[in-house]
């Protein structure tokens, strides 16, 4: 495919299909960020594949003007692995949700991450089953009232980022659906990562779980409820950038401190090291009243599975097949 790609704008990455999400769904802004990220990266649509499972989020490939495969519930990581192994030159994206990726497809996500297949995996987490009409999901908080849990859900939710660390993911990021500036940047960081990149996107399901992330994403308080982590920079946040995270050596936990209070100086604030898996675990599990971590939480280099899965094109394949047909002891009765 040596033919030059004409300069594409972000509109060129949209298909002619009518988008069928509920008005106001967070998926719209994620779709826009995907279009934007592809345009920013000058991605070649012919070499780009979006693979998804089942659920509201998994409709996304129909709306991206690249190759796309909307598959079956939970299996997108497995199908994407096949696509990537078959043609490692492709840029392969996986679109999944919390139910698709962590319930029915948890096993495949685990193995795609631990194998470090060179995929960009976006988990659109809305903490609910949308397409099946609002049942609680594996990321729903305890007590979530839903048609299948009228008195509140009982089970402890899975934390997507912590799951990814447990699976040995080499890239873990988190972002918010409406962050039109930050999200495309993170998507391209994921795209550029060699290996499995896992991005959890907090997505608002306006119909069945409206504003469930308000405590984190509400504009008015976001500066204090989120911390945007940047490799090599101190972990500070707050409207006045006067708050920071410090490691408490006795509890081995992060704690929030304010610069200038109780003698806290910048030297006390931890500096983000995205290559450190221990720090990644501390950051990825932060919950209110501490700020929720956004950005690239973890990134390290490791061999990608598909790199070791290259095909050796033989000079004379037929000869090789002939040789294999004749393997072993031969009785020559010619």
């Amino acid at each position: 495919m040596s033919e030059a790609v004409r300069e594409l704008t972000f509109k060129d990455y949209a298909t002619d299909q009518e988008v069928r999400w509920c008005p106001g769904c967070g998926d719209y802004s994620i779709l826009k960020a995907v279009h934007r990220a592809l345009a920013d990266a000058k991605a070649d649509p012919a070499n780009t594949v979006f693979v998804s499972g089942i659920g509201c989020s998994s409709r996304l490939p129909y709306y991206v003007e690249t190759y796309g495969f909307h598959t079956i519930h939970g299996r997108a990581p497995a199908i994407a692995t096949g696509v990537k192994l078959a043609n490692p030159a492709l840029d392969v994206w996986v679109i999944t949700g919390d139910g698709d990726g962590l319930s029915i497809g948890g096993n495949h996500l685990l193995h795609a991450l631990r194998r470090n297949v060179n995929l960009n995996i976006l988990m659109l987490n809305n903490e609910i089953y949308g397409l099946t009409k609002g049942q609680y999901s594996p990321t729903s908080r305890i007590g979530t009232e839903s048609p299948s849990s009228p008195h509140g859900s009982l089970d402890t939710p899975v934390q997507p980022g912590l799951f990814a660390i447990g699976a040995g993911a080499t890239f873990i990021a988190r972002a918010v659906d409406i962050d039109q500036k930050g999200l495309p940047v993170i998507l391209n960081e994921a795209r550029n990562h060699v290996g499995a990149a896992f991005v959890e996107i907090l997505q608002n399901c306006i119909v069945y779980n409206a504003d469930v992330f308000d405590d984190v994403v509400a504009k008015k308080t976001a500066a204090d409820t989120q911390i945007h982590v940047v490799h090599g920079e101190p972990l500070v946040y707050g409207k006045a950038r006067d708050k920071g995270l410090r490691l408490n050596p006795r509890t081995l936990a992060l704690e929030a401190v304010t610069l200038g209070v109780d003698g806290v100086t910048e030297a006390d604030i931890l500096v983000h090291d995205e290559t450190n898996p221990v720090l990644a675990q501390l950051l990825v599990t932060l919950r209110a009243p501490l700020p929720v971590a956004m950005g690239v939480i973890h990134r390290r280099q490791a061999p990608a599975f598909d790199q070791s899965f290259v095909e050796h094109k033989p000079a004379v394949r037929r000869q090789r097949v002939r040789q294999l047909l004749h393997k072993g002891n031969i009785l020559d009765r010619r």
């Binding site: 495919m1 033919e3 298909t15 299909q17 649509p45 012919a46 070499n47 780009t48 594949v49 693979v51 998804s52 089942i54 490939p61 129909y62 003007e65 690249t66 190759y67 796309g68 495969f69 909307h70 598959t71 079956i72 299996r75 497995a78 199908i79 994407a80 692995t81 096949g82 696509v83 990537k84 192994l85 078959a86 043609n87 030159a89 492709l90 096993n107 495949h108 685990l110 193995h111 899965f309 095909e311 050796h312 033989p314 394949r317 037929r318 090789r320 097949v321 002939r322 294999l324 047909l325 004749h326 393997k327 072993g328 002891n329 031969i330 009785l331 020559d332 009765r333 010619r334």
Partner: protein
């Protein structure tokens, strides 16, 4: 491929029968898993092949890797039928049983006929080991073996003596017993030792072990030559089989499928991606294909059965031929994904090495009970072509045929084999790949333009475009799609049209497959109609019945969905149709369903193949004598 037998040579051989007048023999090795029974069997197989015999084998082993020693359920056995005539079945009754312990003796006794020769390792018949085999008395010392020829040999001690010079203690020497016994068997049937010698030399890097095993092999052989027992242990050489001119090798079904995939990929000029999850008895196909990237096949061991088929589908979407392989329980898990491949109109090969079910069933025992699953077993109206292999060597051609259909019609294809075929071996004339026509696919050429959902009117295969191709950037999925654009469509008429198209596509396969032929016999009387691994036994049973004057013919199906177009008419020319199957009647149902024919059944589900005798009895019941004057 087995039609290559040279009939004239066969007749010529009639005069060169062995001393006992037999052209072929059945030998059964039996002992604990730890006795290396399967290895002995394989080595003996190799020797008789290189000695010029035709052969068929029946490995029969427990699911446990090292089942408790000396128990009845832990007995591992290997049966081989070999000799100087055409051989299609592993034989009903062993002429020779070599039993390494009391359990191996008692569980195999019911199969023997009076006069059979039994060789036992005498030292293994201790009180303790008799008890392990649930025996209160030593069968060597009562009259229970009176009708057989029993030869007691102290194999354990003789082996110990043979390997002592190489520093092997009593315990280690036990591990060489199998080669001692093999040496004796090779002597007894005058088979060459060289292949086994070469194998031992390759296999054992440790010099002491290598020499000990060689010494055991040679000692067993020498025992036969020199023992005073010669009058009992006569040598039974067999003439070379009347083979057509070709190069031959032995092949198991698993090797046949693996080689078929390698050849088909090359014939289709397409890279193959084989994705599977370990399961008995299918895993050996994965083992045979591992590390053959240079021959155009890559393998991927997935995290589970579902991931395996999904990765294969992903590979097919990306332009390689995806293949997945499993056994019944694993195939059940793959069902939903098969529907996706049908909906997305992608080529895919699904190999099912059937085993006894339901559930886990009996993993190492054979059965043909997944035909309903293959033909009917999916949600929605989701037809796929189904083919079945009939023998280890036939796996090669049937696999190529499956790939041909998958790529011609852009459809998943189910290839049925079974635990018996997968493990059994036969002598196979090595085919010349240049004699096979190339496999066409719907891959776009330079001149292809338009939608990927344009379909060839005769095959209904769509364009197999893959990512990387700028002309065909498209999206597809499991949601019903518009028949022309591929976009999501819930339109009523469109779903009708798509469902009709999917049915017509699979039906169109029948336009490309050869007419069903009669294997042997002629129309009029009884047709024995079957599929799969029963072929060899049925061949023998029908042959013997015809020779006995019965009006019977054999029809064996490779194509089960769709059935060959002429099958209904063909069966209409018979008075009675008998369907023998290793299940409760699945092909019988299919024939009634598709062809509205009356069929009689012969069914067996013991985990063991049919015997020729069982089939002959059933034929006897249903067939009439052939009336010469009725013949035109």
């Amino acid at each position: 491929m087995r039609g290559c037998f040279d009939a004239e040579a066969q007749v010529a051989n009639m005069g060169s029968e062995s001393r006992s007048g037999k052209l072929s023999y059945v030998v059964r090795f039996a002992g604990d898993s730890g006795d290396g029974i399967q290895l002995q069997g394989q080595q003996f197989t190799m020797a008789s092949a290189l000695g010029g015999n035709d052969l068929a084998t029946l490995p029969d082993f427990p699911a446990e890797i090292r089942a408790p020693a000396g128990t009845r359920y832990g007995v591992s056995a290997f049966q081989i039928h070999f000799g100087g005539e055409r051989i299609t079945s592993p034989g009903d009754t062993p002429d020779v049983l070599i039993a390494f312990n009391p359990a191996a003796l008692v569980v195999n006794l019911p199969q023997l006929e009076p006069g059979a020769l039994i060789l036992v390792d005498e030292q293994a018949f201790t009180e303790q080991r008799l008890k392990r085999a649930d025996l209160d008395r030593n069968p060597l010392e009562d009259s229970s073996l009176a009708t057989f020829e029993v030869v007691r040999i102290d194999i354990s001690r003789l082996t110990e003596e043979a390997v002592k010079p190489f520093g092997m203690g009593a315990k280690d020497s036990q591990r060489c017993k199998n080669f001692w016994a093999l040496g004796l068997m090779l002597w007894m049937f005058d088979q060459p030792r060289d292949p086994t010698v070469a194998w031992i030399e390759r296999r054992f890097a440790n010099e002491a072990l290598r020499n000990a095993n060689l010494a055991a092999l040679n000692a067993g052989h020498a025992y036969g030559e020199t023992a005073e027992l010669t009058r009992v242990l006569a040598q039974h050489p067999t003439p070379a089989a009347p083979l057509a001119r070709a190069e031959y090798r032995t092949i198991t079904g698993a090797e046949g499928v693996a080689l078929g995939l390698l050849a088909a990929g090359e014939l289709a000029d397409t890279q193959v991606m084989f994705c599977s999850y370990p399961i008995t008895p299918a895993s050996s196909i994965l083992h045979h294909l591992a590390d053959l990237e240079d021959a155009g096949v890559s393998t991927f061991q997935a995290e589970d059965e579902i991931a395996a088929i999904c990765a294969a589908i992903g590979a097919s979407y990306a332009g390689r031929l995806g293949v997945t392989s499993s056994s019944g329980p694993g195939i059940a898990l793959k069902t939903e994904a098969m529907g996706l491949a049908v909906a997305a109109e992608l080529p895919l090969i699904i190999v099912n090495s059937q085993r006894a079910g339901p559930s886990t069933g009996m993993p190492t025992k054979t059965e043909q009970s997944d035909l309903y699953q293959a033909v009917y077993g999916r949600n929605g109206d989701t037809p796929i072509p189904v083919l079945a292999t009939r023998s280890p060597g036939d796996c090669f051609d049937t696999t190529i045929e499956a790939v041909r259909i998958a790529l011609r019609h852009m459809t998943p294809v189910m290839l049925l084999t079974d635990g018996y075929i997968a493990n059994a071996s036969e002598l196979w004339p090595i085919p010349d790949i240049d004699h096979y026509p190339p496999i066409a696919s719907t891959k776009p050429t330079e001149n292809t333009e338009g939608s990927v959902f344009q379909r060839d009117p005769s095959t209904l295969g769509r364009v197999w475009a893959a990512p990387g191709d700028r002309r065909f950037v498209y999206r597809v999925g499991g949601i019903e799609k518009d028949i022309e654009t591929g976009n999501i469509s819930y339109d009523a008429a469109n779903h009708q049209a798509m469902t009709d198209m999917r049915a017509a596509k699979v039906a169109s396969v029948a336009d490309f497959i050869p007419d069903q032929v009669i294997e042997q016999g002629s129309p009029g009387g009884l047709a024995v109609v079957a599929w799969g691994s029963t072929y060899g036994t049925l061949h023998q049973a029908v042959l013997e019945s015809i020779r006995a004057g019965l009006d019977v013919a054999q029809i064996h199906l490779r194509h089960l969905n769709p059935l060959p177009g002429n099958l209904g008419e063909l069966l209409g020319r018979f008075h009675t149709v008998l369907v023998p199957e290793l299940n409760t009647g699945q092909l019988a149902t299919l024939l009634r369903d598709r062809l509205l024919v009356r069929v009689a059944q012969l069914n067996k589900v013991t985990g063991q193949p049919f015997t020729v005798q069982e089939v002959r009895q059933a034929i006897q019941q249903h067939a009439r004598p052939r009336l010469k004057e009725v013949r035109p």
